[in-house]
Subunit: 285 residues, 2 copies
Amino acid sequence: MSSASTHQAADLITEAVVRNLAGTTDERLKEILTSLVRHVHAFAKEVDLTEAEWAKGVEFFTAVGQMCTPTRQEFILLSDTHGLSSVVDVLTQNKPQGATESTVLGPFYVPGSSQRANGESMAEDDPDTPAHITGRVLALDGTPIAGATIDVWQTNSTGFYAVQQPGEQPAQNLRGLYTTDAEGRYHIVTVRPVEYQIPTDGPVGDLLRAEQRHPWRAAHIHAIVGAPGFERVTTHIFDAEKPYLDSDAVFGVKDSLVRTFSPGTAQDGSPIFTLSHDFVLVPAR
Amino acid sequence: MSSASTHQAADLITEAVVRNLAGTTDERLKEILTSLVRHVHAFAKEVDLTEAEWAKGVEFFTAVGQMCTPTRQEFILLSDTHGLSSVVDVLTQNKPQGATESTVLGPFYVPGSSQRANGESMAEDDPDTPAHITGRVLALDGTPIAGATIDVWQTNSTGFYAVQQPGEQPAQNLRGLYTTDAEGRYHIVTVRPVEYQIPTDGPVGDLLRAEQRHPWRAAHIHAIVGAPGFERVTTHIFDAEKPYLDSDAVFGVKDSLVRTFSPGTAQDGSPIFTLSHDFVLVPAR
């Protein structure tokens, strides 16, 4: 345990670093760096971080960085599983009553999904019962928004995104870019989402095991919804009948995003699920 | 700017994450993670971190991790240049009066330096005037310590460590493992250290430029000194006549580590520098 004089000596270093940040040209960057330096130093002092623990930390963050690829973002996984992503989400996405709430982006979003026609299935290689999600994209006052885009992605029934399984799944499986029609309507055809494990084969998985935490995400479909003149929203549709809604590994569940799929029948008599869901956008600020 | 209710919602997420850490088996790890999560969340709330800024942060830390190789540790460079390494150093290396003070390890230590005889030069490929550093390794009460090891490394006269220039410098240039004799004496032969720039070709260099900070380290020789029954000390010898002692880029200078090289003459009449320096170790705890 360190003495009071040791902590005073550590405080002098913190102040020296803050003085060295005073010349940062970008005022916002200066504010961010100063706050981050103060908090990280305060953390080290609070727990009396040892050199050996610091070295373990360096090793851990290095491993996180080296696990990242264009389709695997281990730092986002770390941020998601330790609530930082959700904190940033609620800080910056403070929506007015009635607007679709946002949630985390997650580490598996990759731009470039295929344009899909309304009513076209994005389940290119999944034998599950089709699920039809229909509804409108609306302004806060209920006005339909034509030409809004809905960028959708989810795992297949075994719990993996197409970008995680190149060669095993078609590259565009269970992802698609839908556009609303003149009445603001969209029609996604997919399968019901499943609960799945976030990847645990990297340093974040090791950390979750040390924390004795499960790696399951509640079943959900990702969507980024946008239209000219409106604020883009990154959100999920959670499946109300699947587990882990109360213990989602990335703290991403919001009650307003939970929906129930209903059993139904297609025109040819085959079983389907249906879900009606409107997305409500706020004007761009 | 976020509202008070937004901050309350963010606080609920912080508390949920802390509850999720409660099962961490290792009590010390639990203490460290809980403090770190609270401080990083508090930072995000304090500056109202936006999603775009969070994404830039993810990009930055990823680049830092991906810059790391077995001979380039960009996370240590980040920690050093932002004072965390020095904070950890003063927290954990609180030495009694008279003991050799510690300072940062730096990112260029690589184990495996060659054993050197006392009086053997480690300047395998440097034309500078030889510098003879002599002295003893002592216990706090002045008792000489025989068989103590001094693991020494420094840059060459152009400011690069051998591990930074494989193929250009001999692999063992300006590094060596010296051992004290029966009277606790050692005799390192090297060249005077030079001020040098820390590497600025990675993300930490970009950050220093954004901060308008110079990348210079005060001229120093690294040493790790150890002996059975004593606490190992990671330290520097700074050259009192070289610049940047007041603005070392990694906040590593301590007054007690600054020494003056004196001009002298070798037995053959050629010019040399000499420096007398004792290392004083504390008993292992």
